[in-house]
């Protein structure tokens, strides 16, 4: 298992840098679509770093890593996709 102050310090630094980057984007007038993709990518990267380095998933068996990752990602994706479709429909429907 990869541990030690240096490892945690560098992980902390990367997470902090990503957070600052995300905050800075709020003050730049970036196109909405590009901003959404950028923020979503930064969010998933941060979540993966916390899971892999701080929660030590990196050194666990593949079966545990995939159970956790797929369990959350697939169910989460289904939830968000279906609700997004429904939300869009309602917005469209109420506008008519």
């Amino acid at each position: 298992m990869k541990t030690g102050a240096k490892f945690y310090f560098s992980t902390w630094g990367i997470l902090l840098a990503l957070t600052v980057l995300m905050l800075v984007t709020e003050y730049l007038s970036l196109p909405r679509g590009f901003l959404l993709v950028l923020l979503a990518m930064a969010m998933l990267t941060k979540a993966s770093i916390i899971g892999l380095n701080f929660m030590h998933l990196r050194s666990e068996k593949q079966i545990l890593i995939w159970t956790v990752a797929l369990g959350i990602l697939i169910t989460g994706a289904i939830l968000f996709t279906l609700i997004a479709v429904d939300g869009n429909y309602i917005l469209h429907h109420s506008a008519q």
């Binding site: 902090l16 979540a47 899971g51 939830l79 968000f80």
Partner: protein
């Protein structure tokens, strides 16, 4: 005979016994809890997404929230996660007093985070925000805000209670490195959820 059975049962409950997943059953249970709890948050955030998509307009977050404050809150929580990781590392190396010290740093971080969240809540309530109404035009904005940040805040609070218990037990030599690691997993999960709340609620 009875004593032998008891001994066997105790051995079966030990941290050393690995499951198919390559971890102790206690750690596996914590992971199962984390996945379940993560999906609970996913449900809340998806509900918020639905409300947001179905609303013709949504308040501009940078006008409602002090994003600098939210940035500092995020910094504090990430830092507390780093100190918790260091506590777990120290406990695994048998450095008990160092582990206790890092757990205490983590508790301080958690308390600062909660204090800032209390300040944010009281500021918004002072401006007229509640579960049913707010001055920014979309009634469900307040409901989504208080439900999501409140649910996360309750996790921070329970995490602090768990950490306080672990710190006391660790300092008196009653906890194991595996016990500290389980508390750490929960605390990192609280940090992990904040990554999603921070992005989806405050930034997007």
């Amino acid at each position: 005979m009875h004593a032998q059975t008891m001994k066997m049962e105790t051995q079966e409950l030990s941290f050393e016994k690995e499951t198919t997943f390559g971890v102790s059953w206690q750690k596996l249970m914590m992971w199962i809890f984390i996945v379940g709890d993560a999906l609970l948050f996913a449900g809340l955030l998806a509900g918020y997404g639905f409300v947001r998509l179905a609303s013709p307009s949504w308040p501009n977050q940078s006008e409602v929230f002090h994003l600098e404050l939210i940035g500092v809150m995020t910094f504090v929580l990430i830092s507390s996660s780093a100190t918790m990781a260091a506590a777990v590392g120290a406990a695994q190396q048998g450095k008990r007093s160092q582990a206790t010290k890092f757990i205490l740093f983590t508790i301080i971080g958690g308390l600062i985070f909660m204090g800032m969240q209390a300040y944010e809540w009281s500021s918004l309530i002072g401006e007229g925000a509640s579960l049913t109404a707010n001055p920014w035009g979309v009634p469900l904005f307040g409901a989504a805000f208080f439900a999501i940040t409140g649910f996360h805040g309750s996790h921070v609070l329970s995490g602090l209670i768990i950490l306080a218990i672990v710190a006391i037990r660790n300092s008196s030599g009653r906890s194991t490195a595996a016990g500290v690691e389980l508390a750490g997993l929960y605390w990192h999960f609280v940090d992990l959820v904040w990554v999603f709340v921070f992005t989806l609620f405050y930034l997007i």
